[in-house]
């Protein structure tokens, strides 16, 4: 009826709702030949303090350094020393070993939750190397590589994942929501994209004080749809804030492909254009390109050139988290067919091509990384795992809500402690 009356007497074209669909679903053959992947070394490298608009061709390009021949090409080659490259390779391998162990730890019931960054290691490790140690990192939840690149103790990380008695966040945070003020690594929020305006604010504060520290922040491509992303870019451009926005386009936001964040219409790097800030689109699986782009943006910010948005074009090789089953929504072949390869492998092959690395050293290194993680895990387990024992004094649950404990929280703390003695009488702790 309703549609009848709508149709009658009308000759206007019928509107159609577009709902994006990914290229492949489970069972489909994945074929990435539609991706436009330019040759390594072909992308121009503007001066760091150029007008933002000079970068705009790069928003529709893909900065690549490592070619199919495993050699570095073109103006974006950061010309890193072989020692640095080996260090970066080791750290990326360490992140991977760590992820694998922690994933298993979750499966073994030692913690509730874990998130891997497999395939995205370059976007955190290499980017961190391009920053100064006192630059502030405002991470999302897949940047364990930033902490590892800054030398954070793995045992500390695992203590946090286990929420055990040595967890310096007192068992209050979701596993992997690290925080280290000492390493200038901001506390991670579970509310997506909130770190973007915060990073901008930090950068503005630093600039207002005539300091030299800049801020860098990471966000998934799916989360760029949040209002915070747009608020942050607006503030950053208005005040020319020394901040770097790293958008990790790993193609998937849980089960939603990047089309649901608008990827069908424009690249994420191109979001920079509307705000008048510099934008770069980078092969996120190319460690040298990631380093070079981040370094470019850091130098630009540090010399008052303002903010840069970098889209790291990469692929989330594993599930979203331990709670996710990617085979339920995407083609199992995608991971293998991803045309930009694996960042750890690419760097390894580059070092081999330079004559600076070989299979033996690689194997020794892999074993060493695994041993390091295992040792850290053992040390952390000595402090307990999630749910075994109530690790922290109950009073700590009420601390840090405010600087000082108000009367109502003091009363509630007394209640919790009283209950503890009833619920767990064998437990001697406070």
């Amino acid at each position: 009826m309703a549609s009848d009356s709508h149709e009658k007497g009308r000759n206007r074209p019928k509107l159609e709702l577009h709902v994006p669909q990914p290229h492949y679903r489970p069972g489909d053959t994945a074929d990435f030949s539609h991706l436009n992947i330019p040759a390594a070394g072909d992308q121009p490298r503007p001066d760091e303090v150029c007008e933002a608009r000079e970068t705009y061709p790069l928003c529709d390009d893909l900065i690549r350094v490592l070619g199919d021949d495993d050699r570095a090409h073109g103006p974006w080659d950061p010309r890193l020393h072989a020692d640095t490259l080996r260090k970066i390779l080791r750290e990326m391998a360490l992140v991977r070993a760590f992820d694998n162990r922690m994933y298993r730890a979750q499966r073994q019931g030692k913690t509730s939750f874990y998130m891997k960054c497999t395939g995205e290691e370059a976007t955190s490790v290499c980017a961190t190397h391009a920053l100064a140690a006192d630059d502030m990192i405002f991470p999302s939840y897949r940047q364990q590589g930033c902490l590892i690149a800054r030398g954070y103790k793995l045992t500390e990380m695992i203590n946090q994942i286990y929420s055990n008695k040595a967890d310096k966040l007192k068992g209050r945070q979701l596993p992997i929501m690290y925080c280290s003020k000492r390493l200038n690594f901001f506390s991670i929020s579970g509310n997506l994209a909130t770190q973007l305006p915060q990073a901008t604010g930090f950068a503005m504060a630093s600039a207002s004080k005539g300091d030299s520290r800049i801020a860098a922040t990471w966000v998934g491509e799916g989360s760029t749809a949040e209002g915070d992303f747009h608020s942050a870019l607006t503030f950053a451009t208005v005040y020319n804030a020394p901040v770097i926005f790293n958008v990790i386009n790993n193609q998937w936001a849980i089960s939603s492909f990047s089309g649901f964040a608008g990827a069908e219409r424009a690249n994420f790097a191109a979001r920079a254009i509307g705000y008048g800030i510099a934008g770069l689109r980078v092969d996120g699986n190319d460690p040298l390109a990631v380093y070079a782009a981040e370094r470019w943006a850091a130098d630009r910010a540090r010399s008052n050139g303002g903010p840069t948005l970098i889209e790291h074009f990469t692929y989330r090789a594993e599930g979203h988290s331990t709670s996710d089953d990617p085979s339920a929504y995407r083609s199992a072949e995608e991971r293998e067919e991803w045309p930009l390869g694996d960042p750890v492998n690419r760097l390894r092959k580059h070092l081999v091509a330079l004559g600076e690395w070989d299979d033996e050293r690689q194997q020794a290194m892999d074993e060493e990384q695994d041993a390091i993680v295992r040792k850290a895990q053992k040390d952390a387990e000595a402090n307990g795992i999630l749910g075994h024992g109530l690790h922290h004094p109950f009073h700590t649950m009420f601390e840090d809500v405010f600087e000082d404990l108000p009367w109502h929280l003091e009363e509630q703390a007394a209640q919790a402690i009283r209950e503890r003695q009833i619920k767990w009488p064998e437990d001697k702790a406070e």
Binding site: G201, S206, D228, T234, W407
Partner: protein, 353 residues
């Protein structure tokens, strides 16, 4: 009034005290803090060159510079979000949200981020900030310029909520908020910016002129958070109020000749439970007055606390006088406003028990 006078005497000598309305007092607090602490920074829509739509920041940019006091994009999420980052850096931002009704786009940054940063980082990072925002009705602001959203904030762990009712308090409390290391929401009852309001909307507006509470020291002084102000002492009943409603309640009690003890709560979180208990135990009767909508309003919390803690002292059920559970209706503003009739009836009811 005696407690107020004591504080004032302790704070400053007689000279250097000036008559100020609430806007001037707030301006003075900001001015003093900008001068005292180089980490204090003011940001918000139209607050810089223009000095804010209510003029609370007038002249401050000219005096303290554009990097200390500046306009922002119309993005409440951005305003609060960058303030979190500024706080993490070590600044003490004082963001202004032009009207409390527009705080909602910034809520996630306030509720999930600012309020919880200390907790989630176990004290490594803090978000000291004082979000100033005019709130409440009585100025024909319609639905979108009249709301009283305080209970949204009092419900959130980690936020402090402060509401002054006089120029003297506005300055002293605001200074405490800026010095506080926790995020604070400072709601300014805009109906009484220029003068106290007795609830009689059809009578000429009053001004702060000649009022004790408008005698404000020009220099630094602070009023601790979490301490209620005894507006007047009495034995017949306790009235708990804040903001504009303090004045309305006061005038109703005066007009009715009721010997009420009126507490201006000043801060909702942390709450001065001792003062509330002491007063209710003395009078045995309690009336709660606020402008915000009734259901799940802060009055519900107050009523529950008084009932839980003072039940055996109570001689009548605790009463609440509030706004209605509707949006603020522009043309029927005075029908909505919890004025003398609603308050008078509640007092009669309590006293008749």
């Amino acid at each position: 009034m005696s407690a107020l006078m004591d504080e004032k005497a302790a704070a400053t000598s007689q000279d250097g005290v000036r008559h100020m309305n609430m806007i001037e007092a707030i301006n003075s607090a900001l001015d003093v803090m900008l001068a005292r602490d180089p980490d204090v920074i003011l940001l918000g829509e139209d607050i810089g060159y223009f000095g804010g739509v209510f003029r609370c920041t007038a002249g401050l940019q000219e005096k303290h510079g554009t990097t200390r006091v500046f306009d922002t994009p119309i993005s409440e999420c951005g305003i609060i979000g960058v303030a979190v980052g500024m706080g993490a850096y070590g600044l003490r931002p004082v963001p202004e949200i032009q009207f409390a009704d527009y705080i909602y786009p910034g809520l996630d940054q306030l509720i999930s981020e600012a309020a919880r940063l200390r907790y989630r980082s176990a004290g490594e990072f803090i978000a000291p900030m004082t979000v100033r925002s005019p709130f409440g009705g009585g100025i024909f602001g319609g639905q979108t310029h009249s709301q009283s959203p305080e209970s949204i904030f009092t419900h959130v762990s980690g936020l402090k909520t402060v509401i002054p009712a006089t120029p003297y308090d506005a300055k002293g409390l605001l200074i405490s908020c800026i010095e506080d290391n926790d995020p604070v929401i400072f709601f300014e009852p805009k109906r009484i910016y220029n003068g106290p309001f007795d609830g009689y909307y059809d009578k000429p507006a009053k001004s702060w002129k000649g009022r004790d509470e408008a005698q404000v020291p020009e220099d630094y002084y602070s009023i601790p958070l979490g301490k209620a102000r005894t507006v007047c002492e009495g034995d017949a009943l306790t009235v708990l109020a804040y903001g504009t409603m303090v004045h309305v309640a006061e005038s109703v009690c005066r007009d009715k000749g009721v010997d009420a003890e009126i507490l201006d709560l000043r801060t909702l979180v942390p709450l001065d439970i001792e003062a509330i208990e002491a007063s209710v135990e003395k009078t045995g009767r309690c009336l709660i007055v606020h402008e915000a909508t009734r259901t799940s309003g802060f009055g519900a919390e107050l009523s529950a606390l008084v009932t839980e803690r003072c039940f055996y002292h109570l001689e009548a059920p605790v009463e609440r006088v509030t706004g209605f559970d509707t949006p603020y209706p522009h043309s029927l503003e005075w029908a909505y406003f919890p004025g003398p009739v609603r308050i008078g009836e509640a007092i009669d009811k309590i006293l008749s028990e």
